[in-house]
C-alpha cells in the first residue's frame, strides 16, 4: 500500500495524543495552572493536528462532515465520532486542571475510554480490510493500542509504566513482523484464485492491461525494496521501543523528555512500514505479489 505521509502523520500523532490524554484524564500527571495548560495543549495539538493532517488525504475535504453519517457500518465514520466525543469529553478535564476545579472521576474515566476507543477505531479501519491480509489480523489493533499507551505513558512521565509498556510494544512489533510476513500466504489468494483459472494450470501474466500507470498501481501495488524494509524494521523497534524503554529505566525528567522524540522517530518508521509492506490482493491481477514471486 502507498505510504501516504498524511495518513502516517495522522495515525502516529493522533494515537500518541489520545494515549497521552487518556493518562492525563486519569490523573497520572497531576499538573496545575499553566503547566496543565501546556501539557493539555500538547495533547490536543497532537490529536487535532493528526486529524487535520488526515483530511489532506481526502480528494474533497470540504465534504468531510458527511463522514459522520455512517457510524453504523463504517469504522472511519465511527472514528470521526469517537475523536470528536473524546475531544469534547476531555475538554472539561483540561479546563479543570488548568483553572483548578474538580471533575468527577467517572467523567475522567469515560473521557479516557473515549480517547482509547478513538485509537481502536483508527486501527479497525485497517484491520477490517480483508483484501490486505497483513492488516486483517487481531494484532493490528493491539499494535495501535500498544503505541498509544506506551507513547502516552512516556509523555505522561510515567517512567516505570512506560518501561513496561514500551517493552510490551517491542514484543508486539516483533510478533507482528513475524506473523505479518506470513499473512498473505495464509490468506491463500493466488493468481489462480484471483482469475479463477488456477485449476487449469500455472497462471502468469502474458500481457499487462495497460502500459501506463494507474491509481491501482500507485495506491495499492506499491512495492518496497526488501533491504530497506529490514533496516527500517530494526530502526523502528530500536527507536520506538527499546531505546525509550532504556531511557525510561534510567529515569529522570530530562531523559524522559528526550525519549519522546526518539520514540516518535521509531513510530514514524514503523507506521511507514505498516503501509509500505502491506500487500493488497489486487496486485495478483498484475502478477506483482508473493503468490507469484515466491
Amino acid at each position: 500500500m502507498h505510504p501516504a505521509p498524511s495518513v502516517i502523520i495522522f495515525s502516529v500523532l493522533s494515537g500518541l495524543g489520545f494515549g497521552f490524554m487518556a493518562f492525563m484524564a486519569l490523573g497520572f500527571l497531576p499538573l496545575t495552572g499553566m503547566w496543565a495548560f501546556w501539557a493539555w495543549g500538547v495533547g490536543y495539538a497532537l490529536a487535532v493536528g493528526g486529524l487535520i493532517a488526515s483530511t489532506t488525504h481526502l480528494g474533497n475535504p470540504q465534504r468531510a462532515l458527511k463522514a459522520f453519517s455512517q457510524w453504523r457500518s463504517s469504522w472511519l465514520s465511527r472514528e470521526g465520532w469517537a475523536a470528536v466525543l473524546a475531544l469534547f469529553a476531555l475538554a472539561p478535564i483540561a479546563l479543570g486542571d488548568w483553572l483548578g476545579f474538580g471533575v468527577p472521576f467517572v467523567w475522567r474515566g469515560l473521557a479516557a475510554a473515549l480517547a482509547l476507543i478513538t485509537v481502536f477505531c483508527t486501527a479497525m479501519i485497517y484491520t477490517q480490510i480483508k483484501a490486505v491480509p497483513r492488516w486483517h489480523h487481531w494484532l493490528t489493533p493491539v499494535m495501535f493500542m500498544a503505541f498509544a499507551l506506551a507513547g502516552g505513558a512516556l509523555l505522561a512521565m510515567q517512567a516505570a509504566l512506560a518501561f513496561v509498556l514500551l517493552l510490551a510494544l517491542a514484543v508486539v512489533m516483533l510478533v507482528l513482523f513475524y506473523t505479518g510476513d506470513r499473512q498473505f500466504a495464509r490468506a491463500g489468494q493466488t493468481m489462480g484464485t484471483a482469475t479463477g483459472l488456477g485449476l487449469r494450470g500455472e497462471v502468469s501474466v502474458f500481457e499487462q492491461p495497460h502500459t501506463g500507470g494507474n491509481y491501482l498501481l500507485r495506491e495499492m501495488i506499491f512495492v518496497v525494496a526488501r533491504k530497506h524494509a529490514q533496516k527500517l524494521r530494526v530502526i523502528a523497534v530500536l527507536f520506538a521501543a527499546v531505546l525509550p524503554a532504556l531511557m525510561a529505566a534510567v529515569g529522570g525528567l530530562g531523559l524522559m523528555l528526550a525519549a519522546v522524540p526518539v520514540h516518535l522517530v521509531g513510530a514514524f518508521a514503523a507506521r511507514w512500514l505498516f503501509f509500505a509492506e502491506a500487500e493488497h490482493v489486487v496486485g495478483l491481477y498484475y502478477g506483482k505479489r508473493q503468490g507469484v514471486l515466491r
Binding site: Q70, L76, Q189, P209, V281, V282
Partner: protein, 245 residues
C-alpha cells in the same frame, strides 16, 4: 446508510466468457467513451499525451498465460471490472454513504456529490474495481451503465452496458442473475460460471465462464494416406523394375 440491503429484487450483472474473449480491448474503449460523458464526472486522464500518461478506466483487460501440467500453454484474455458483489465490502466501509448498493437491481454505485475521496472503498475491494479520479477527487467505478439500461431515449437494442453492446465476439452478456431463466443465469449454469476469489466472502454477482476444452490437434499427418500408395499397372511395373536396378 451504507449498510447493505438484505435482499435485492434483481441481481443485474455480467457473464463474461473467457472462451470467446479475444482481448481486443473494445469494451475498455466503449466503457471509457460512454462514461466520459454519462453518469457523474468524466473519467479524466492525466498527462494524456506526455511521457507518463495515466487515467481512470472502469474496465481493464488482462492477458494471462496458463500452463497446464501437460500440453501447450494457453493465452486467456481476462476483462476485469466491478462484480457488483452481494456482500460488497466497498459499500460498508464508506464513511459518508456515497457508496451504496441499489435495492431494486443490486447495482453498486457512488453518489459523487457525497464522496470525500478517502479511497477506503478502493482499499476494501479485492478486485481493483474502483479507481480514484485524480482531477475530481472522487471515486469512479462501473455503473453497469445505469444511464443506458433504463434509458428510454435509446433504441431498445442499445439498452445494455456499453461494453456488452460493443463486444465484437459476444463475450459479454448482461442480465438478471436473480431470474433463473435469464440468459446470463442459463449461461452460468451451463458453462459452470465461477466467482473470483470466493474466499474473500464478497459473493460477486458477475460470473466468469471458463474457456472450453481445446480440441486435440491431430498428430497424424493429413498426407498419411498418400504416403503409402501401391502403384499398379504400368507405374507398378516401372516401380518394381526401377527398385531392382
Amino acid at each position: 446508510m451504507t449498510c447493505l440491503p438484505g435482499h435485492t429484487e434483481k441481481k443485474l450483472g455480467l457473464a463474461i466468457d473467457l472462451d470467446t474473449c479475444v482481448g481486443c480491448h473494445a469494451c475498455v474503449t466503449a466503457c471509457k467513451g460512454w462514461n466520459d460523458q454519462g453518469y457523474g464526472v468524466p473519467l479524466t486522464d492525466q498527462d494524456a499525451y506526455g511521457a507518463d500518461p495515466s487515467g481512470v478506466f472502469l474496465n481493464r483487460v488482462h492477458s494471462y498465460q496458463v500452463q497446464p501440467e501437460t500440453g501447450a500453454a494457453q493465452v486467456i484474455n481476462f476483462p476485469r471490472s466491478c462484480l457488483h458483489c452481494e456482500d460488497a465490502p466497498c459499500v460498508t466501509v464508506c464513511p459518508t454513504g456515497a457508496s451504496y448498493k441499489r435495492v431494486e437491481d443490486g447495482i453498486v454505485l457512488v453518489n459523487e456529490s457525497d464522496c470525500i475521496g478517502c479511497g477506503l472503498c478502493a482499499w476494501a475491494c479485492p478486485y481493483g474495481a474502483r479507481e480514484m479520479d485524480a482531477e475530481a477527487g472522487v471515486m469512479k467505478k462501473c455503473t453497469l451503465c445505469v444511464d443506458r439500461i433504463y434509458n428510454e431515449n435509446l433504441p431498445e437494442e442499445d439498452r445494455e452496458p456499453a461494453c456488452v453492446r460493443t463486444c465484437p465476439t459476444g463475450a459479454r452478456h448482461f442480465g438478471d442473475f436473480a431470474d433463473p431463466d435469464s440468459k446470463v443465469s442459463q449461461l452460468a449454469a451451463k458453462r459452470g460460471g465461477f466467482d473470483l476469489m470466493p474466499d474473500m466472502g464478497t459473493k460477486p454477482t458477475n460470473k466468469y465462464l471458463a474457456p472450453r476444452p481445446k480440441d486435440r490437434r491431430n498428430e497424424a499427418s493429413l498426407l498419411a494416406p498418400l504416403l503409402d500408395i501401391e502403384a499398379t499397372g504400368f507405374a507398378g511395373w516401372l516401380d518394381r523394375v526401377l527398385g531392382k536396378i
